[in-house]
């Protein structure tokens, strides 16, 4: 069995202005580990999008990241409203983001598609009224 390292981040959903902190901290961790810059870029974008989604759409949640020799696995878990139609949510341009945050550039409906594009595997499990868990994997080799 190979060694692995885990990181846990609480993603605060109370204060919108604090969204995005967990991804920045994880990026710092990856740099310390000496991860390849291109992988850092992909992993931080994917985690960022997922983290922002939890803040905007699900009142926050938790992010757990596992770095092993061959992959980075990011699990984002929230207890928000859930996604009724995952296929639809995955479409580029589909968004239910509220108006007041669009002025900052959110709400393009590009988050989930970006997460898919920048990772090697992605799964969404969601139950309306219970919450959503997004699992992403990026291969290191």
């Amino acid at each position: 069995m190979s060694e692995s390292l885990t990181f846990h981040f609480d993603v605060n959903g109370e204060d919108f202005t604090s969204a995005g902190q967990a991804s920045v901290r994880f990026k710092k961790n990856m740099r310390e580990l000496g991860v390849d810059p291109e992988i850092i870029r992909r992993a931080s974008i994917a985690m960022y999008e997922g983290e922002i989604n939890m803040v905007i759409h699900a009142h926050g949640g938790v992010a757990d990241v596992e770095v092993s020799e061959d992959a980075i696995k990011i699990v984002l878990k929230d207890q928000g409203p859930g996604i009724p139609d995952i296929a639809k949510a995955m479409q580029e341009g589909y968004s239910t983001a509220p108006d007041n945050i669009r002025s900052l550039g959110f709400g393009a409906g590009m988050g989930l598609p970006n997460m898919k594009r920048y990772t090697d595997e992605m799964q969404i499990e969601s139950t309306v009224g219970v919450g959503t868990t997004v699992t992403m994997k990026i291969n290191l080799n």
């Binding site: 920045v24 740099r31 870029r41 999008e49 900052l104």
Partner: protein, 425 residues
């Protein structure tokens, strides 16, 4: 003390063309003895003349990077618009690391100050008394323009210090805490500026306030050093401690949208700003909470000391911001706004439009100006060295120009004279 400007003229290069004369928003430039002369009382250091001059005869004065040598601890304070100058940049840390690599001992982003000012402004707007709309204090050219041309709007200006000052004070405080071996004067805070107006702000301060910045250089002064040093293949240290909100201040609308208050307006470009101020002063203005005005086109990304086209810079900024945390600097709104954030005295200047200190005298002069103006051709050709016939009439009445400087009025006589001369040959 006399106001120190940051826009200067290279007499050798100036051809005496009237581009800048026509373009100056405060009509501060005249042509005298075949070259431009800037009236220090009127100049707001907006940099329009630097942008427009076809001969590159106008320069933005700034300090030399070598001026930093006298400090033991050198801190770079990059304006957020600096990040928008680079190709393919997707992480601000590369720029910050670059600043360390070219010789700064530490970096402190102005965008951190911006996020704090944003948070404090949000807090302040809830209780601030005084006239609405509140006008941003971030662009020094606008603040000086208001003092000179719209003195009745002085109380509308947000009386909080701009991000550059908040950042500079924090940077120094942090350095002195981390390095108790240094004295205050050992620490040099160097603002990397997109424009000459910020330079003037630093040099002149306010009546009861001395700027916390020690040295000001322009983007051009660090840009080439930086691109030689920056390598996107490297892993920079994680240095950035700000987010979308702070970096958004680089472009028009960034400051206003971050207030999360829909009742705002953001205008950029000096002529547009003047139009908005005219409307506010005239009372013919919608009921808005906040007005953000930037003298440069596009906001600070359009500053006269930037490298990149402002619209390209703005597009880059959007890409760069896309994956940033919303903010990384927070305040507790339960705490009152620190005293050190407030501007006690914005300063006052003699309003530009006043002809003399004596009302009767002013009326006499105005009458004379109007009479003379009616005699002038009204072509606004600029050949006399003034931007238009009305300004010329004013110059004549004030005694700074001679009525014979208008050659158009005498065109027929000149032609007759030349014809006579030719015939007599």
């Amino acid at each position: 003390m006399e106001y120190q400007h940051s826009v200067s003229l290279d007499i050798e290069k100036c051809k005496g063309c009237t581009s800048c004369v026509h373009h100056c928003p405060t009509e501060a430039i005249r042509i005298r003895d075949r070259h431009a002369v800037i009236d220090a009382m009127r100049c707001i250091d907006c940099g329009e003349c630097i942008r427009i001059c076809p001969h590159q005869a106008k320069k933005a004065l700034r300090d030399d990077l070598l001026d930093l040598q006298r400090y033991k601890w050198k801190i770079a304070l990059p304006a957020p618009s600096l990040y928008a100058q680079f190709n393919n940049l997707d992480d601000v840390d590369f720029v910050l690391q670059g600043l360390l690599d070219i010789g700064f001992d530490d970096v402190f982003e102005v965008s951190r100050g911006a996020e704090l000012v944003t948070a404090r402004t949000r807090q302040y707007l809830k209780t601030r008394k005084g006239p609405r709309p509140v006008i941003s204090s971030a662009c020094p050219a606008i603040v000086r323009l208001i003092a000179l041309r719209f003195p009745s709007l002085k109380d509308n200006i947000l009386d909080l210090l701009p991000p550059m000052e908040i950042a500079a004070a924090m940077a120094r405080e942090q350095a002195l805490k981390d390095h108790p071996e240094f004295k205050r004067e050992d620490v040099g805070v160097c603002f990397i500026s997109p424009c000459p107006a910020k330079m003037s702000y630093v040099k002149n301060g306010l009546p009861e306030y001395k700027s916390q910045v020690d040295v000001v250089v322009g983007f051009k002064d660090v840009y080439f050093l930086l691109i030689n040093e920056m390598r996107y293949s490297r892993r920079p240290k994680t240095l950035s401690e700000s987010g979308m909100i702070g970096i958004g201040w680089a472009a028009s609308g960034g400051e206003a949208t971050a207030l999360f208050n829909d009742a705002y307006l953001a205008a950029d470009g000096i002529d547009n700003c003047i139009r908005v101020l005219d409307r506010i002063e005239g009372g013919d203005f919608p009921n808005l909470e906040f007005v953000e005005l930037n003298a440069c086109p596009g906001g600070c990304v359009g500053g006269a000391m930037t490298i990149q086209d402002p619209f390209i810079a703005k597009a880059r900024l959007q890409t760069l911001r896309r994956f940033m945390p919303v903010s990384q600097n927070f305040v507790d709104e339960k705490d009152p706004i620190p005293e050190s954030y407030f501007v006690k005295d914005m300063g006052s200047y003699t309003p530009l439009n006043r002809l003399s200190d004596n009302m009767a005298e002013s009326m006499r002069m105005l009458k004379e100006i109007q009479a003379l103006k009616d005699e002038l051709p009204g072509v606004d050709c600029g050949a006399c060295g003034a931007p238009n016939c009305r300004a010329f009439a004013e110059d004549v009445v004030k005694g700074t120009a001679s009525k014979y400087d208008c050659i158009l009025t005498h065109l027929d006589e000149v032609k007759a004279f030349l014809r006579e001369k030719e015939e007599s040959l």
